[in-house]
Symmetry: C2
C-alpha cells in the first residue's frame, strides 16, 4: 500500500467571503486535488420540554429548493462550536437554551471539504421575547417519531444533519425509537 | 416571510475535472452565492454473510489524514447510482454483490454542494478472484456493534456515511442495536 503523504504545495486559487478554493499538488506534475477551506460548521439538536425537535424550513440556493434542517451555521472566528450553535439557534428560531452539550466532531465531506461539523444537543429551551426567526425561515417543531419518519421518507434530507441525529442517538442524547 | 426565488444569474467561475464553482446571483447588486456543481455521490453499505460491514481506510487530501469510511464515489455519466456503488465497491474492496438496494437520496450539504448522495445497501457479497483493493486503500470489515461504536467515538467520522447508516437503519436495512 502507498504511504500517505501531505501535499507538496497548496495554493488558494479562488476566494469567496465564505471559503477559499484550494489546489493541493500531491505529486510533482500531477493535476492538483481541489477542495474547499472553510470554517467549521455547528448544528444543533434543540429538544423542547415536550419532546419536540426545533427544525427550520428555508430556501437553499445551492440546491435551489426548500429544505427541512436543524438550525446550523458556520463557527465564526473567536467562537466555540457551542457558542456558534446557540447563536444560530437564537437567530434562526428565536429560542435560547439553558444547556448545550457538544459531541465529537465529524468530517462533512472528506472528498471536498476541509472543515469539521460539531454536533450540539440543547435542552432547557425558552423563547426570547422580541426575537423572531430570521426572515425567510419557518420554524417547525417535530416530535422525535415525526423527525425520524421525515428522515426515512427523505423529507428531512440534509445528510449532515441526519448524521448529527445518529451521533446524538449513539451518545444517548436522543431517543432511538422505531418508527 | 420572503418568497423563495431562483437565482437571476448563474455563472461558472472556476472549472476542475471534478466540479464547477458556481456564482449564483439572487438579487441584482448582491454578492453572489457560491456553491459547487458536481455529479451525485453514491455510498454503499456492504453487509457480509457473517454480519460485517466492509469499510475502507484511506488517506484523504481534503482533510490531510486517514479516514475510515464506506466505499463510495461519484456517479459517472450514464451510470445509475446502484451501478456506481457496485463499481466503487469492486474497485475499493475487490468484492462484488448479488443484491443491491437504493434508498431515497439525501443532500450532502445544502449550503455548498448542489448534488445528491444515494445510499445503497448490498448483500450476497463475494470476493472477485484477482481483484485487489485499490492501491492506498485498506479494507476493514467491522461488525455492526464495532461500526456503531466507531461512530460514537468519532473514528468512523465521515458524516455523510454516518447519515447513510441511520437512513439504512430507519428503512429496516441495517441493524439498530444499542452499543
Amino acid at each position: 500500500m502507498s504511504q500517505p503523504k501531505s501535499p507538496i504545495r497548496t495554493a488558494a486559487v479562488f476566494h469567496t467571503q465564505w471559503f477559499d478554493l484550494l489546489a493541493k499538488t500531491m505529486d510533482e506534475g500531477d493535476e492538483p486535488y481541489y477542495s474547499l477551506r472553510l470554517p467549521d460548521y455547528a448544528a444543533i439538536v434543540a429538544l423542547t420540554a415536550d419532546g419536540r425537535v426545533l427544525c427550520v424550513r428555508q430556501y437553499r440556493p445551492a440546491v435551489e429548493r426548500w429544505t427541512l434542517e436543524l438550525p446550523s451555521g458556520l463557527v465564526d472566528p473567536g467562537e466555540t462550536p457551542a457558542e456558534a450553535a446557540l447563536r444560530e439557534l437564537l437567530e434562526e428560531t428565536g429560542y435560547q437554551a439553558a444547556d448545550v452539550e457538544v459531541l465529537t466532531p465529524m468530517l462533512p465531506d472528506t472528498g471536498r471539504l476541509g472543515n469539521r461539523i460539531w454536533s450540539c444537543v440543547a435542552t432547557g429551551l425558552s423563547r426570547v421575547e422580541g426575537r423572531e426567526p430570521e426572515d425567510g425561515i419557518e420554524v417547525v417543531a417535530l416530535t422525535v417519531p415525526e423527525l425520524l419518519r421525515a428522515t426515512a421518507d427523505g423529507e428531512f434530507d440534509h445528510a449532515l444533519h441526519v448524521a448529527v441525529i445518529l451521533l446524538a442517538q449513539l451518545r444517548g442524547k436522543f431517543p432511538a425509537m422505531a418508527i
